[in-house]
Symmetry: D2
């Protein structure tokens, strides 16, 4: 199974661009970058020992995206090997602000910035979708991580 | 909202091809035809007065796809206006076999067959996913329709 | 085929939520709102007489998303009938800023705001992806529209 | 980056189920299994030293799906770690028949069969989409592999 890496507060998750991610303009369809970024957030939580399925079953808590400010810098293309980075920018009682970047490694180690985003994730009740405090153990996990 | 049409046992649902449906080969990505076909099945049920959300809430019953035999004849492209047809081929106690076709209307009324499929849909318990009989009222709806 | 409507500078495009748009949290998966918004932009251009396929073939020009600032207010769910609105907020030489809103009409005409966004679209060369001026006829179409 | 494995004629590619792959019935949306299978076919070709981007650029040749006979046995769910297998069943002048299986490894090494398919892939001219013979070097690659 795929493996992420972590260094100096930044978690990186590799993503390969397949046919399904591209459109007839020859590049990755813009909404699919948001899928890549969600995979990196999920794998970052998994890396910290947090499984969202368990969070839902045991704490009745799920994460929803409240806001996404996304800049699309360069197009990624079919077969590109991308690195999707996630880091915590700000922690609040019921939400977390992540900074995310998608990069493509080119020849000679040069990096091409594809996409960058500030994404606000809120913790809500899985049944009612009302805001709830982020469970203590989760905040502590992020504390250890900062 | 979009409108379907029904004649001689065949329900037709219009679908437009957008950027999101295409890939960098310049045509509709193959898995997306299965999305179009599912929309047509859902709208056919709606046309017959059956809402799957209600079926789930009141009868604890959902439909899952058991088998799909799909032939891809011609490629559909960006901006194409397609007609996605659904008809009942066979009814059983716990499953229905639908025949589906996706066509593109070209100049002078000529029709281009894009995709055709035999799709077996099973009725299952929404919680356990075990097979269950199709609710009586639903079989009667299809009886009226044949 | 589906029909949009236009009033006082705002173009509205209807979208139905299908199984394909939802996720196991029971709501529309966040990236799919960006697909709905792109359909509305495409249909708005079509409404103004502009076909992106033709723009590409004849003017070698395509539109790419440079930035999307998206607020997710309320969740949309399976079977919801949504209205996806597009209006021009600002026109530049090589880019246009659209404001977009996704609403759900509830009982008694009450509207629920699902999602709102400011989306910057740039005009680029279809081959090189370098910025290019928006073709004159297109700016005039938007002038007539403002 | 993710890694596949190969043994006795069967190539296996790992796939993780994310939010984007699920629907509100709580399971993987059926069309997404076809995405997983396409990733495995692409990675199998890559494993054999064949890059589809290069095939297109140098041989003007792309692969399209002509037929897919898919059986959906059990549902896969959020967070599941799946193994998507691909093997060559039959080789013709202008098409290849692949057999594919998606499995989930459960406790004690028990395997759960999620989905199985016979998928016919045709070689076509990238411009005209007319059938063309599979390039000799590619048939030889598969010969070595059988």
């Amino acid at each position: 199974m795929n493996e992420g890496s972590y260094t100096e507060g930044i978690f990186s998750w590799p993503v390969r661009v397949y046919y399904e991610d591209t459109d007839f303009a020859g590049v990755v369809y813009y909404a699919n970058y948001l899928k890549f970024m969600e995979r990196s957030r999920t794998e970052y939580l998994r890396f910290l020992g947090v499984e969202q399925g368990t969070l839902r079953a045991e704490n009745n808590c799920i994460f929803v995206v409240r806001q996404a400010l996304v800049d699309f810098h360069q197009a990624a293309r079919f077969n590109d090997a991308l690195s999707v980075q996630t880091s915590v920018k700000l922690k609040r009682k019921a939400s977390i602000l992540f900074h995310q970047r998608i990069e493509k490694v080119e020849e000679e180690g040069k990096k091409l910035l594809i996409c960058s985003a500030d994404v606000t994730i809120a913790c809500v009740d899985a049944g009612t979708f009302r805001p709830m405090r982020i469970p203590r153990f989760l905040l502590e996990v992020f504390e250890r991580d900062s």
